[in-house]
Symmetry: C2
Subunit: 273 residues, 2 copies
C-alpha cells in the first residue's frame, strides 16, 4: 500500500462543501499533506491569500487545475487562451505547485476535425512552454478518457501524451489518472515508457454502472479499477511524488459532509492505493 | 457519399417501436436493403418465422446481435455461455447473416482483473470458433468504447480486436463501429491493418454533450464524428458490404414514430455517410 505521507486531495473532491480556505483547513487538520487547487476557487480566495494559507498549513500543492483548452475557431480565441494559460503558469509558480495540469481541449465549435484539434493542442503547448520553462512550472499533460474526446480533451491515451512530450521536449510531462487510463491494454507499457516524465498521479474509481459521464466518479474501492496495481507500475518508474485523490461525484460525495469525505478518502487511500 | 444500396438498419434503432416482423416490413417498405437482428426480438418471433419473413421481403441480414459475454466467475457459467453462443451461431446460419456480432464481455462479478477477463475472452472465442467455422458463420469481434470496459466489453480498440484475430486465425474478423472507435488516434492505421477482416461497419454519431453512457447515441449528422472519412478508410480496405445504422436513443429516437426514424436514417445516410 502507498505511504499516507504521499496523499493529496484535489479540492474538486469537496468542491460543493469547501471554499479554498475551508479545504486547506480541512485537509491539513485531517493530516493530509497535499492539496490540488482549482483556478475558479483560487480566484475567489485571491492568489496572495491562497499562497499564505497553503504555507501556513504546511501543505504541498500537488497541482494547479488547469491550463489547456487550446483548440479554438480563430486566432484571437487561441491568443486569449494562451494569455490565460500564461496566467495559470504564474499562479502555479506562486503556489509552488508540483505541476500545472493541462487538459488539452476537444473539438472547436462546429468542427469534426480531430487531427486538426490535436495539431492545435500541440501548437498551443508549444506556444505556452517557453513561459512555463521560464517560470519553472512543469506542464502535466493529462490524457482524458476517450469519452471526453469531443468536448474536453482530444488527448485520450498515455501514448498520445508521451508522443507530445517527445515532440515538445523539456518542461512537459504527464499526469496519470487511473480513471482515464485504467482500461488501456497498453497502460503498463506506456507508464514504463513515461519514466521520469510522470508529474502527477491521480486516483479515484470507475463505478459499474456509471450514471454520468462527468460527475459520477467513485471513491477508491467502490469500483473496478485495480488501483494498487497501477500505483505499483507508477512507483516502478521512480515516481515518489504525491498521490492525489480526485473525485467528481455530484450525487454522492458532493452531498455528504466535507469531513466525512476527507475521512473516507484517507481510509480508502490506506486500504486500496 | 456511400451508395444507399449498401444501407442496413440495426433493429435496435427502432426497438421500442417495432417487433421483428414490423421492423422487417418497415425497413423493406422504405427501400432499405439490410437489417441487423437482435436475439431477444428473434426469440419473440421464432427463428423459422424470422427466416421466412426476411426472405419474403428480400432483406439481407448484415448481422445477428449478439454472441460473446465470455468472462465468468466459474467453469459452469463459461460452459453455459458457450452453449448459448453456439445457439447464436446456428441462428445466424439460418438467417444467412453476414456475421455474428461478438460483444466480448467485461469483468466477471467482483473482479478487477482486466487482463484475466481478456484471457477469458480469447479462450471463449477459441472454444466457439470450431462451431462457427463448421456453420460457415464469421465471428465479428466488435471493440466497444473504453467506457464499457468494466461491464460490457474489455476489447476496446480495433488494435486489440485485430490482435485477437491474429491469434485465432480464420473465421474471425471485426466489426468497425464509428461510435466506439472514432476517438482513436490509431484508427486509420488499424483499419488499414484490418484489410479483408472487416465483417461489419456500423454508423451513428457521438453527441456533445452525451447524457447517458448507453442510450444516448446520435443520428448521423447530429454529432461530432467525421463519418464519411472513416467510411472512406473502411472502403479503402475493399470492404463493400452493408453499412449498418445502429442507434440506441432512449430519450429521442426511440420515442418517435418508427417510420419517421427510418426516413431520417435514410436521409442522413445519404447526406453524411
Amino acid at each position: 500500500m502507498a505511504n499516507p505521507a504521499r496523499m493529496s486531495i484535489n479540492q474538486a473532491t469537496t468542491r460543493e462543501q469547501h471554499s479554498l480556505a475551508q479545504a486547506i483547513a480541512a485537509y491539513a487538520q485531517a493530516g493530509v499533506p497535499g492539496i490540488s487547487i482549482w483556478r475558479d476557487k483560487l480566484a475567489e480566495s485571491g492568489l496572495s491569500d491562497a499562497v499564505r494559507m497553503v504555507a501556513d498549513h504546511g501543505l504541498q500543492v500537488s497541482g494547479l487545475c488547469r491550463a489547456g483548452m487550446f483548440p479554438a475557431t480563430d486566432a484571437a480565441a487561441r491568443q486569449a487562451c494562451l494569455d490565460d494559460n500564461k496566467k495559470a503558469v504564474d499562479e502555479a509558480a506562486a503556489l509552488k505547485a508540483d505541476c500545472l495540469i493541462v487538459v488539452a481541449g476537444g473539438l472547436p465549435e462546429g468542427s469534426k476535425d480531430l487531427p486538426g484539434a490535436r495539431r492545435m493542442i500541440r501548437d498551443g503547448l508549444g506556444a505556452l512552454l517557453p513561459h512555463a520553462l521560464a517560470a519553472g512550472v512543469p506542464l502535466a499533460i493529462e490524457p482524458l478518457h476517450p469519452m471526453y474526446a469531443g468536448d474536453r480533451c482530444a488527448i485520450n491515451t498515455l501514448s498520445q501524451a508521451l508522443d507530445l512530450c517527445d515532440d515538445l521536449g523539456k518542461g512537459v510531462g504527464v499526469a496519470v489518472d487511473v480513471y482515464h487510463l485504467w482500461w488501456d491494454p497498453d497502460l503498463q507499457v506506456q507508464i514504463k515508457r513515461a519514466g521520469d516524465r510522470i508529474l502527477a498521479f491521480h486516483v479515484c474509481d470507475w463505478l459499474v454502472p456509471t450514471t454520468d459521464l462527468l460527475l459520477d466518479r467513485g471513491m477508491m474501492g467502490d469500483g473496478v479499477i485495480d488501483i494498487a496495481k497501477i500505483r505499483e507500475w507508477v512507483d516502478g518508474t521512480g515516481y515518489d511524488g504525491l498521490i492525489e485523490v480526485e473525485i467528481f461525484s455530484a450525487e454522492n460525495w458532493w452531498k455528504r459532509p466535507g469531513d466525512e469525505v476527507v475521512r473516507t478518502c484517507l481510509q480508502r487511500f490506506n486500504e486500496t492505493v
